[in-house]
């Protein structure tokens, strides 16, 4: 595991009106590590993701992606710098087919930008990469099915696919296994493990099975503050974490 | 100077109130239900025609109540048998439906009442000058307009505060299924709100038809301006609609009451555009001639810099 820092948050805060939701988060995430963020509901995990991905603007503090400041940039600029995210609620192009969803996700990274002088369908590189992705997501059979008609698990898989399509070096996944049955969740974990071999993963998850299965490191966010950031074993043993998050019923 | 200001304020206020009477119903229908109702002014026109015709038999005061009710019922029928069906397809079809409806209403009015303006006049009881200011008379009817507008505002305000109709409608825009699963009869609420909105438009017509002219083109002329009021005021906000109406009324009246152009401003800085140059037309354009453009300029600027309008809670 390389020691380069992929994502560095320094003194990050976010207020909504008078409510302080993120209260000074400092976090370093190393390149190629799988980092899971856990914490009680409303602790600010999704907000943190929104700040990093540019969907929200931070009240103060800085965010660096491989040493470059990204706070204050709009989402599409952040994305172009190699950071990609999925959503807690499935967020796809519902009317497009699987194939089209993936192609759309690929266009920018393959340098087509706002081109209106070339046809999408004749871009071999995009097509090939999309097919490769479908294969990996086990969606080849459904390539012409509109996203809205996929099953929930398939939609989640496609969501992940669209997220990684651009070849981003840092992935943010928000509760990727929510709403899945045990076996489906396990499949998803496998998929995530596979696709994150050479990139950095930051993930929010409530399913402790998944958390401890996948994480290299875990950070615990409570009321907008990181109360622990450590290896899975250490976090599991941490009394404060048990109190604030796990409750009595530790799995 | 004082005279100009007083008159502009008074006239602007009255004109604003007329605008408000027209747009308050649309605040419900467009602002809350999200229905881009281009036929709104048609219901206003129907209100005027109904009141005129009923007034011939019942007198003005009865017609003042009956006409809005009759038009409201027509509105309910339009919602029940037309819009409800179209609603599921989205906003553009709704818009086009009301577009077509506006044509149909106008043609029917022409068919039944003819092309010439109606002789729809101020009722005797209100036909006297109330007071005189700087030598200009103020007709009592204008004050009546003011009273009606204010009571419309109060009525609407109470309706929205006291009932949950507003909440139900807003919630239904995103999750109608869940609203009904919580025990609310969504289609019925929609129907009555639409009926109420059209009834308000008709009430505006009963009064506005007298103040302005009752003729088949009246709907077409008032069409777009009411959208300006609703959007500038902020979607779904009656307070906003009231403020926006008065603002537009006063703004327009002021622009008409003073002779002003960019050249005046330029003079302050000792700069003038040569009369032959390309921008001279703009430079020497009188404020009175720009006045009709002002509401739309306000609309565009408002949407660019503050898309939720003056008092709107949400962005459209």
């Amino acid at each position: 595991m390389s020691q380069e820092t992929a994502l560095a948050l320094k003194g990050l805060t976010k207020n909504f009106g008078r409510a302080e939701i993120i209260r000074g988060v400092d976090l370093d995430i190393k390149a190629n590590e799988r980092h899971v963020i856990i914490g009680p509901n409303g602790a600010g995990k999704s907000t943190l993701f929104n700040l990093i991905s540019g969907r929200l603007e931070a009240t103060s503090g800085t965010i660096q992606l491989f040493g470059r400041e990204i706070d204050g940039l709009p989402p599409h600029r952040v994305n172009r710098m190699g950071l990609s995210r999925s959503f807690q609620v499935t967020n796809l192009f519902q009317n497009m087919t699987v194939m089209q969803n993936l192609r759309c996700a690929l266009l920018w990274s393959k340098g087509h930008k706002y081109a209106f002088w070339k046809l999408v369908n004749s871009q071999q590189e995009v097509t090939e990469r999309a097919e490769e992705l479908m294969e990996r997501l086990n969606l080849t059979a459904k390539q012409h099915v509109p996203a809205s008609l996929l099953t929930y698990a398939e939609q989640r898989a496609l969501e992940i696919g669209a997220t990684i399509a651009s070849g981003a070096k840092v992935l943010l996944l928000d509760e990727p296994t929510a709403g899945m049955s045990r076996t489906e969740a396990d499949d998803m974990v496998e998929l995530i493990r596979e696709i994150t071999t050479d990139c950095t993963l930051v993930m929010v998850e409530h399913d402790l099975g998944v958390v401890f299965n996948l994480a290299d490191r875990i950070s615990v966010l409570v009321y907008g503050e990181v109360i622990a950031s450590d290896t899975p074993e250490a976090v599991r043993a941490n009394a404060a974490v048990q109190e604030a998050y796990l409750g009595t019923e530790v799995h | 100077m004082l005279e100009t200001i007083t008159f502009s304020l008074l006239n602007g206020l009255l004109y604003g109130m007329l605008l408000f009477m027209l747009s308050s119903g649309l605040t419900l229908i467009f602002g809350m239900m999200g229905v881009l109702n281009f036929a709104h002014a048609s219901f206003y026109m129907l209100g005027a025609y109904f009141a005129y015709t009923m007034g011939l038999y019942t007198g003005f005061w009865v017609a003042l109540f009956l006409a809005p009710i009759a038009v409201g019922l027509i509105g309910a029928a339009v919602e029940r048998f037309g819009l409800r069906q179209v609603h599921q397809y989205g906003h553009v079809p709704e818009l086009l439906f009301t577009f077509g409806l506006a044509y149909v209403v106008e043609e029917l009015v022409r068919l039944f009442w003819g092309n010439t303006p109606m002789n729809y006049r101020v009722p005797e009881a209100l036909d006297f000058p109330l007071f005189s200011l700087f030598g200009t008379n103020y007709p009592a009817f204008r004050v009546f307009v003011l009273v009606v507008a204010v009571s419309m505002f109060v009525g609407l305000y109470l309706l929205l505060k006291r009932t949950r109709a507003g909440l139900i409608i807003q919630a239904s825009l995103s999750r109608p299924d869940m609203v009904s699963a919580l025990g609310h009869n969504v289609p019925q609420v929609f129907m009555w709100v639409f009926a109420f909105g059209t009834g308000l438009a008709a009430l505006g017509g009963v009064v506005g038809g007298i103040q302005l002219v009752t003729e088949p083109g009246m709907a077409f002329m008032m069409g777009p301006i009411v959208f300006v009021v609703v959007v500038v005021g902020g979607l779904g906000s009656i307070q906003g609609a009231l403020i926006a109406s008065i603002l537009i009324g006063v703004l327009q009246t002021f622009a008409l009451s003073v002779d002003w152009s960019l050249a005046n401003l330029g003079m302050v800085f000792g700069y003038a555009v040569p009369p032959e140059s390309f921008f001279a037309t703009i430079w020497y354009m009188d404020s009175t001639r720009i006045a009709p453009m002002l509401p739309y300029l306000l609309l565009v600027l408002m949407l660019i810099f503050r898309p939720r309008g003056l008092m709107g809670k949400r962005e459209s």
């Binding site: 709009p74 599409h76 994305n79 172009r80 995210r85 967020n91 192009f93 519902q94 009317n95 497009m96 194939m99 089209q100 759309c104 266009l107 920018w108 990274s109 087509h112 930008k113 706002y114 081109a115 209106f116 070339k118 046809l119 999408v120 369908n121 004749s122 097509t127 669209a162 997220t163 | 999200g34 881009l36 037309g82 179209v86 818009l95 086009l96 439906f97 577009f99 077509g100 409806l101 506006a102 044509y103 149909v104 043609e107 068919l111 777009p224 959208f227 959007v231 037309t281 720009i290 009709p292 453009m293 739309y296 300029l297 609309l299 565009v300 949407l303 660019i304 898309p307 962005e315 459209s316």
Partner: protein, 428 residues
């Protein structure tokens, strides 16, 4: 869009030919129809009408780049049509005055540049947001441009508009553009070129992302696109084509007035696109043809034409929200699926019931106009090949009875029958 088809078509050249033929035939049909039309329509007026159809087709297609592809509802698209037209008109007058050597065939390009210019200006302020905000900004800009048209009389020529003579410029191919027929061919060629380009634009990265932004702007941001930029580019392109249509328009009419930038024109293009069907490339084409035809012909047939116009739109919106082309397409699909075989009689039955109702309704409307609008209602009135007295009760009773009967038959018998016929197919 069938992605695999194209891909194999492009990859495997040999097999590809038949696919190309399959994809090209609608265009070939369009070319053939466009070329043959003037043989059917020979009057000057008719030629102007079909030329207007060509212009409107470009205009409606450009509108659909906004509404159908990008989800932007505009109430002011005529601004670009009209301003483009004015630009072209000024160029035409300049040519007339100075003998400048620009050929007439290229005049529409001036219109397109005008559309482009104003698209850039107004697009920059209006495409920040979609939805109601965009719609209302477009309404505001439309009204403002309309209002300025009477203020800047130098540019707009006041309410009298501007005139030009299309015979003044030279022709690239030495064609005499006096006769309406030659102008029609010019329009047809430009319409085809514009349609092909607009069709191809849908398949480009920008075209795809326009769809993506329409459906889910947020997600589009997270695949690296700025929705605002996508909308802006689409807007500018649409304005350019609208300007092209405007440029052609002045070649046809040789006059341009401020109504070309006005609300009615903006409304008309919205209606055309929607009535035809915004979900299909050919939808606006159908809509444009129909609207131009109705506008120019219906008014000479009946006094009640605006009423019919309104009713038609209401009916289409209520019963065929996918547009007329959409309905036709559905029918073709269900024909292919073999549903027609089972339900042919039921369809015929239901359609005839509806048709009878519509005819009776027309009779009622015509009679109402006769009684209420004619100076002498007693005068015998021709109606569907018979002559009646509209003031007597009998014809009224007959039409109302027929109307009620047809409705009853439709709702109580024909529609359930049709449903059953279709359902039985589903079960199988």
């Amino acid at each position: 869009m069938n992605t695999t088809q194209v891909q194999t078509g492009a990859a495997a050249g040999g097999v590809g030919r038949s696919i190309w033929v399959r994809r090209l035939w609608p265009w070939l049909v369009a070319v053939v129809i466009a070329m043959l039309l003037p043989l059917l329509v020979t009057s000057n007026h008719g030629l102007t009408m079909i030329s207007h159809m060509g212009v409107m087709i470009i205009f409606a297609l450009s509108y659909n780049m906004l509404l159908g592809n990008t989800g932007l509802l505009s109430f002011g698209h005529a601004v670009y049509f009209g301003l483009g037209g004015y630009m072209a008109m000024h160029m035409l007058r300049y040519i007339e005055a100075t003998g400048f050597g620009m050929p007439l065939e290229l005049l529409p390009v001036v219109g397109a540049l005008g559309g482009l210019l104003f698209g850039l200006i107004f697009g920059a302020v209006s495409t920040r947001r979609a939805g109601v905000v965009f719609a209302m900004i477009s309404l505001g800009i439309g009204e403002m441009v309309t209002a300025s048209s009477l203020m800047f009389t130098g540019f707009f020529g006041g309410e009298a508009g501007l005139f030009g003579n299309r015979e003044a410029p030279v022709s690239l191919f030495g064609i005499d553009y006096g006769p309406g027929r030659n102008v029609y061919y010019l329009v047809a060629v430009w319409a085809l070129i514009a349609a092909v380009i607009m069709f191809l634009l849908r398949q480009t990265p920008l075209g795809w992302m326009a769809n993506a932004v329409r459906d889910n702007p947020e997600r589009a941001q997270f695949v690296g696109y700025s929705p605002q930029m996508v909308r802006f580019f689409q807007f500018v392109l649409a304005a350019t084509f609208a300007g092209l249509a405007g440029g052609l328009f002045i070649v046809v009419d040789e006059i341009i007035t401020d109504e070309t930038v006005g609300m009615i024109q903006s409304g008309l293009v919205l209606l055309s696109a929607y009535i035809g069907g915004i979900g299909f490339f050919l939808g606006p084409v159908v809509g444009a043809v129909l609207v131009v035809f109705l506008e120019s012909e219906l008014s000479s047939i009946t006094d009640a034409w605006l009423l019919y116009f309104g009713l038609l739109f209401v009916a289409v919106v209520m019963f065929a929200p996918q547009g007329l082309f959409g309905v036709a397409y559905q029918q073709v699909m269900s024909w292919r699926a073999g549903e027609w075989v089972r339900s042919f009689h039921a369809r015929l039955y239901a359609t005839s019931a509806m048709l009878v109702f519509v005819l009776a309704l027309i009779a009622v409307i015509e009679k109402a106009y006769h009684v209420l609008r004619h100076w002498n209602p007693q005068e015998p009135m021709p109606l569907f090949f018979v002559t009646i007295d509209a003031t007597s009760m009998v014809p009224w009773l007959v039409s109302f009875a027929v109307m009620a009967g047809a409705l009853a038959v439709f709702f109580l018998h024909a529609r359930p029958l049709l449903r059953r016929a279709l359902d039985s197919g589903e079960g199988a």
